[in-house]
């Protein structure tokens, strides 16, 4: 039951990765060969960005709402905390209630952080900025 896993047990992931990569590359090459038998028409209008048929206005690399960035940062924080839960989730039967109490301390910090960002207004996506 409690078998020890060594690095070579994870080889299938590598193999699967190369299979997936080669599938994508082979399909791309094959379709490229099929398509390249036809004459390729290149015009300026065709290779422009699509903007519902009107002329392009400016560049798409414009300043973007900071809230999206904030979500990404919050996600990184919380996801790392979630990762810390995993080892405990598998082994908590061995540590029993004492481990549970230790974990409650961690959860307390987690909840405190969550409460802090909530009160700070990081989760109010709709509020107007003054």
């Amino acid at each position: 039951m409690n078998r020890v896993y060594i690095a070579s047990d994870y080889e299938p992931v590598l193999i699967q990765f190369f299979v997936a990569l080669s599938f994508v590359v082979i399909v791309m090459v094959v379709t490229h060969l099929i398509i390249s038998t036809r004459k390729r028409v290149r015009t300026l209008k065709k290779e422009e960005n699509f903007e519902c048929g009107i002329d392009i206005q400016g560049n798409a690399r414009f300043p973007f709402s900071i809230k999206y960035f904030l979500i990404a940062i919050l996600f990184v924080l919380f996801d790392v905390e979630v990762i810390f839960f995993y080892p405990w989730a598998v082994n908590f039967r061995d540590t029993d209630w004492s481990g549970f109490l230790d974990m409650m301390l961690f959860v307390l910090i987690f909840v405190f952080g969550f409460f802090y960002i909530y009160k700070k207004g990081a989760l109010d996506w709709n509020k107007e900025q003054e």
Partner: protein
């Protein structure tokens, strides 16, 4: 006691016969090599075939919900429609965009499809039909499936198109938010099952599926997992990144031909992957319905091959997902993020602790009625 019934229709009979024949006639290295190649070919074929079936099924079911016919011209009942679509998409020209970032634009679909294929390998389709299986299965699936978002963000950024950019940003925010919930929901079941390995988890659900075993807590986790899985695949009421009425097609607006096909394929496969992970973790995977002590009943149930059970349960979940998709109006981005951060995340945390208490005090079904299961 685990009973072994004869299962003549099981594919594992074929694979074990193939394995012993190859090992008997060839050296270890060549036998392994041939097996690897066979598994790879079978997985790729399954990937493509499942995608084609899903596309056809979705179009038909959607048509049913909207009281129209759906595809009915190509082949009998339109059965060959998705094959025709696939051939057409393979032959389409790939348009280069002047102002795009060439390399990233080219590389973005690769991330998407490779991420979904890596996850696809870890699914247990039936007894012995399991390519990637090791002790950290659940963690591996969550980790690898979240690589797909890199493809979406790269696509949006490199296209240099405003629709793509907005779509990618929305998709990024939505995906990373709901990733938290999905992780927590799966972890709740890891607590219950005591393992992260899919095969052990499925064996442990022989007489009592995880969704029944942890009763209240499991059902909450199941619902949350379905919601967040739905949001992760950008479907249903959560299809903001490709909201066609405001963003044309979202992050893949500028893609054409096969590159668009890759996104399309990955999207449908992600739907299947979410449904099959939910099946494996909550609904007993490929295990037939078995009741402790009813030997006759168990034998009849076990006569149906395990892959039929797996695909049956997965199909039910996929149908549920389509049903949700065509029943609810689209959410706004702030409603979407509120739902995750203000409701699902705290509920999930409490739910996880509730499950731990249930397991420690022995209030799970298997703990309460040890004789029954």
């Amino acid at each position: 006691m685990v009973l072994n019934y004869s299962q003549p229709l099981e594919i594992s009979n074929l694979t074990s016969w193939l394995d012993s024949t190859l090992r008997g006639n060839l050296s270890e290295f060549w036998a392994l090599l041939i097996e690897f190649v066979l598994v790879a070919v079978v997985l790729l074929t399954a990937y493509a075939v499942i995608a084609l079936i899903l596309i056809y099924a979705e179009r038909k079911i959607t048509a049913f919900f909207q009281a129209r016919y759906g595809p009915n011209r190509v082949g009998k009942w339109g059965l060959l429609q998705s094959v025709a679509d696939m051939v057409k998409i393979l032959l389409k020209e790939i348009v280069r965009i002047n102002r795009s970032d060439r390399f990233l634009f080219f590389a973005a679909p690769f991330f998407m499809i490779i991420a979904s294929m890596l996850t696809f390998g870890a699914i247990a389709f039936g007894k012995g039909l399991h390519a990637i299986d090791f002790n950290i299965g659940v963690l591996y699936v969550t980790a690898v499936s979240s690589l797909g978002i890199i493809g979406v963000l790269l696509a949006g950024w490199s296209s240099n198109n405003k629709y793509s950019m907005i779509g990618a940003m929305r998709s990024g925010a939505q995906f990373v938010s709901y990733e938290l919930s999905a992780g927590f929901a799966l972890m709740t079941i890891v607590v219950l099952a005591g393992t992260m390995q899919f095969s052990t988890m499925i064996e442990g659900q022989r007489y009592c599926w995880n969704i029944f075993n942890g009763h209240i807590s499991s059902i909450i986790a199941f619902v949350i997992y379905l919601i967040s899985g739905h949001a992760e695949t950008n479907r249903g009421p959560f299809d903001l990144p490709e909201a066609e009425s405001e963003l044309t097609a979202g992050y893949h607006t500028e893609y054409s031909g096969l590159q668009f096909g890759f996104y399309y394929l990955a999207e449908y496969l992600n739907m299947f992957i979410i449904a099959s992970i939910a099946t494996t973790v909550f609904l007993g995977g490929y295990m037939p319905i078995q009741v402790h002590g009813w030997d006759g009943f168990n034998q009849i149930m076990a006569y149906i091959p395990t892959y039929v059970w797996f695909f049956g349960k997965t199909a039910v979940l996929i149908f549920l997902s389509l049903w949700v998709r065509w029943s609810f109006p689209r959410l706004r981005i702030d409603q979407l993020l509120n739902l995750e951060w203000k409701y699902l995340l705290p509920i999930n945390l409490v739910n996880l602790l509730l499950m731990v208490i249930l397991v420690l005090t022995g209030f799970t079904l298997t703990g309460l009625f040890p004789g029954l299961f």
